[in-house]
C-alpha cells in the first residue's frame, strides 16, 4: 500500500463510520414504520448531487465513550440546492441519541445559521429531536458549559426565510426552530411540544397523551403552529420546496418570477357565479382566490386555524403575492382573535420578504361579545392594524361584498391599501344595515317601518356612493379582477428599491 492508498483506506473507513447513522437495526425499524431517515430526507430535499456536508466527522465529545457511537453528533447539516437555489439545511438524525442537543451539534447548527444569515441563504430545518442531551446538560457545570453561550441562538431578524418540517417526535430545539420559522409543515403522527410526554407526566403527575399534547390536530386547529398538515415525510419535504419557491433567498432581493401556467384566468368569466346572490348566504372565498391567481398557484397556510381569515401564497402574472381574504363560509366572515393573529403573522411574513399583499374583503366586522373580549380581541385587532400600517410592500384591496366598521380598516380600507377597488356587489358602512335600523330607529326586523328604513340604509351602503367620494379608486367588474390586480401590481412595483421593502417588522414575534 502506498501513501495514497493508505490515506484512501483510512478516509473510506472514517466515512463509512460517519455515514452509518444509528446503525442498521434502528434504520430498518424506521423504514418499516414508513419514515425516511435523516440522509434520505436530505436527498429528497436537495437537487441530485448538490448536498455538500458540513461536519461529517463531528461527534459527541462530552463523553469519550460516545465518540464512536455518535456519527455527526445526531445532526446532519450542510448546503444543498433546493430547486436550483443554494440553502443551508439541517436534518436531525433521531437514530443517534434521539438527535438530542449536545455541544458539537450546537456548534454545527450555529455555523449553518451564521452562514445562512451572512450570505443570504434560506435555512431549512428537518425536525425530529428529543431535546437537551442527558446527562451532558445536567448540573450547573453542564448548564454553564452547554447552554446560552450563543446569544443569537434564538434571535430572529428575518434576514432569510426559515422553513421547517416537523417529522417525528420534536421536543426542545426542533420545536423552537419550528415556531421561529416562517413555515412549518407537520406530518401526521409527529409531535411538537416543549417537552416529552414522559417528562410532562412526571411533572404534572398525570398521563399525557402525545397526540393530545402536541399532535397535528392541536397545531393545525388550536395553536396555529402548523402551516400545513401532510401524511408522509415525502409530502412534507416537497411542501418545503413549494414554500421556498415563492420566496426570495434573502430579504434584500425580490421574490423569483415564474412562468404563467397555461389556462390561468380561465374561470374569470364566471367568477360572479361563485358568490351567492343573497347577501345572507355564504360561500367559500378560496374558490374565488383559485380562480383569480395563476393556475394551481394558491398555497394556503394555516387552513384549519382562524378559518374566517384565509392566508396563502400565490402568483399573479408569475409574480409572488400574499393573499389575505375573509372567508364567509366560516362565521359569516366575522373575524375573531385567531384570524387576526393569523393574518398579522402572514402580513409580517410577506412584508419581510418583499411579497405584495392582495386583500379580498367580505366581512360583516369583528366577532363581538363576552367570549371575543376574553380572547383579547381589542389587542389582536390593533396588532393587525399596526402590522398593516407598518407594511411597506404594495397592498391592493378588493371589496367583494361586505366591509363594515373597524374591519373595513383592518382589511385595507381607506389609505390602508395602495389601491382600493370594489365589485359592484360591495356594501360599505359602519355596521350591517339590519342592525343599524335597530340602533338608529329602534325597529326590529318584521315590525312595521323596518323594510323602508332598511332599504334606505342599504342604499346608503352602495358602492356608487363609496366611489363618488373616491374611497374606492376603481369599481371593477368581477371578471376583470385578475387583470386589474396584475396591472396594479406592476404600477405599484417597488421600482425605487429594486422590489425591496423597508422591513419595519423584521423583529416582530415569530408566533402568537
Amino acid at each position: 500500500m502506498n501513501r495514497q492508498q493508505r490515506l484512501e483506506a483510512e478516509f473510506a473507513a472514517q466515512e463509512t463510520k460517519a455515514r452509518a447513522m444509528g446503525g442498521a437495526e434502528k434504520l430498518a425499524r424506521r423504514k418499516a414504520a414508513g419514515m425516511l431517515n435523516a440522509r434520505e430526507r436530505l436527498q429528497r430535499l436537495c437537487d441530485p448531487g448538490s448536498f455538500i456536508e458540513s461536519g461529517l466527522f463531528a461527534t459527541s465529545t462530552s463523553n469519550p465513550a460516545d465518540r464512536d457511537s455518535t456519527p455527526c453528533d445526531g445532526k446532519v447539516v450542510g448546503f444543498g440546492r433546493v430547486n436550483g437555489r443554494e440553502a443551508a439545511v439541517l436534518a436531525n438524525d433521531f437514530t443517534v441519541l434521539g438527535a438530542s442537543s449536545g455541544a458539537t451539534n450546537g456548534r454545527k447548527i450555529a455555523h449553518m445559521k451564521r452562514v445562512a444569515t451572512q450570505r443570504g441563504l434560506p435555512m431549512v430545518f428537518l425536525g425530529e429531536s428529543s431535546g437537551a442531551r442527558m446527562p451532558d446538560h445536567m448540573g450547573s457545570r453542564g448548564m454553564g458549559m452547554l447552554l446560552g453561550n450563543d446569544g443569537t441562538q434564538y434571535q430572529r431578524m428575518r434576514e432569510t426565510p426559515w422553513a421547517s418540517a416537523t417529522l417525528g417526535l420534536s421536543y426542545g430545539s426542533s420545536s423552537w426552530y419550528a415556531v421561529l420559522s416562517e413555515f412549518n409543515v407537520m406530518r401526521k403522527g409527529a409531535v411538537l411540544a416543549v417537552s416529552s410526554p414522559l417528562l410532562a407526566s412526571l411533572a404534572i403527575k398525570q398521563d399525557v397523551d402525545p397526540q393530545e399534547m402536541g399532535g397535528w390536530r392541536v397545531h393545525a386547529e388550536v395553536t396555529g403552529f402548523a402551516d400545513l398538515i401532510v401524511d408522509t415525510d415525502e409530502e412534507a419535504i416537497d411542501a418545503l420546496k413549494v414554500f421556498l419557491s415563492y420566496l426570495p433567498s434573502h430579504h434584500r432581493e425580490a421574490p423569483p418570477v415564474a412562468a404563467v401556467p397555461a389556462g390561468s384566468g380561465e374561470g374569470m368569466r364566471d367568477i360572479l357565479g361563485l358568490m351567492p346572490e343573497s347577501r345572507t348566504q355564504v360561500y367559500d372565498v378560496r374558490k374565488l382566490v383559485r380562480t383569480i391567481v395563476d393556475r394551481d398557484s394558491f398555497f394556503e397556510l394555516k387552513a384549519r386555524f382562524g378559518k374566517v381569515g384565509v392566508t396563502g401564497l400565490a402568483r399573479l402574472g408569475g409574480r409572488t403575492v400574499g393573499i389575505v381574504a375573509n372567508n364567509p363560509l366560516s362565521r359569516g366572515g366575522a373575524m375573531d382573535a385567531d384570524a387576526c393573529e393569523k393574518l398579522t403573522s402572514f402580513i409580517v411574513l410577506c412584508d419581510s420578504f418583499n411579497i405584495p399583499l392582495v386583500l379580498l374583503v367580505d366581512t360583516p366586522g369583528f366577532v363581538i361579545g363576552t367570549e371575543a373580549e376574553r380572547q383579547r380581541a381589542p389587542g389582536k385587532i390593533m396588532n393587525m392594524m399596526n402590522a398593516l400600517a407598518l407594511t411597506t410592500v404594495p397592498k391592493l384591496s378588493v371589496i367583494l361584498r361586505k366591509s363594515y366598521g373597524q374591519a373595513y380598516l383592518n382589511m385595507g380600507g381607506g389609505r390602508n391599501s395602495d389601491e382600493v377597488a370594489a365589485w359592484p356587489t360591495a356594501e360599505v358602512s359602519f355596521m350591517d344595515p339590519t342592525f343599524a335600523v335597530k340602533v338608529v330607529h329602534g325597529i326590529d326586523p318584521g315590525l312595521p317601518g323596518f323594510d323602508k328604513e332598511f332599504a334606505e340604509m342599504d342604499r346608503a351602503s352602495s358602492v356608487w356612493d363609496f366611489a363618488s367620494v373616491y374611497a374606492a379608486q376603481a369599481v371593477i367588474r368581477p371578471q376583470e379582477t385578475r387583470d386589474y390586480l396584475i396591472r396594479m401590481l406592476d404600477v405599484h412595483r417597488l421600482r425605487l428599491s429594486d422590489g425591496v421593502g423597508r422591513h419595519l417588522m423584521r423583529a416582530w414575534p415569530t408566533s402568537f
Binding site: T280, Q281, V282, R304, K307, V308, P328, L329, S330, R331, G332, A334, P364, G369, E371, D432, T434, F435, P445
Partner: protein
Amino acid sequence: MASIKIKTEVTGSVWKIEARAGQRLAPGATIMILESMKMEIPVIAEDGGTLVELHVAEGESVNEGQVVATLTG
C-alpha cells in the same frame, strides 16, 4: 374508527338540517345550516365521515363550541 365531534363556530339557531344519521358525508359536506348574525352559516364535515348522531333539532338554539353532531371517520 375515530369518533369526530362536530362543534359550531357561532352562537345562533339551527335553521335547517341537511344530513341524516347513517349518511356518508364527503369532506366539506354540509351537515346543517345555522342562522346567526342574520347570515346562514353552514356546519361542515371538514374531513368527511359517517354521521352517527345529530344532537340538535331544527329551531334549537346553539352556543359557540357546542357539539351538534358526531361522525366516525
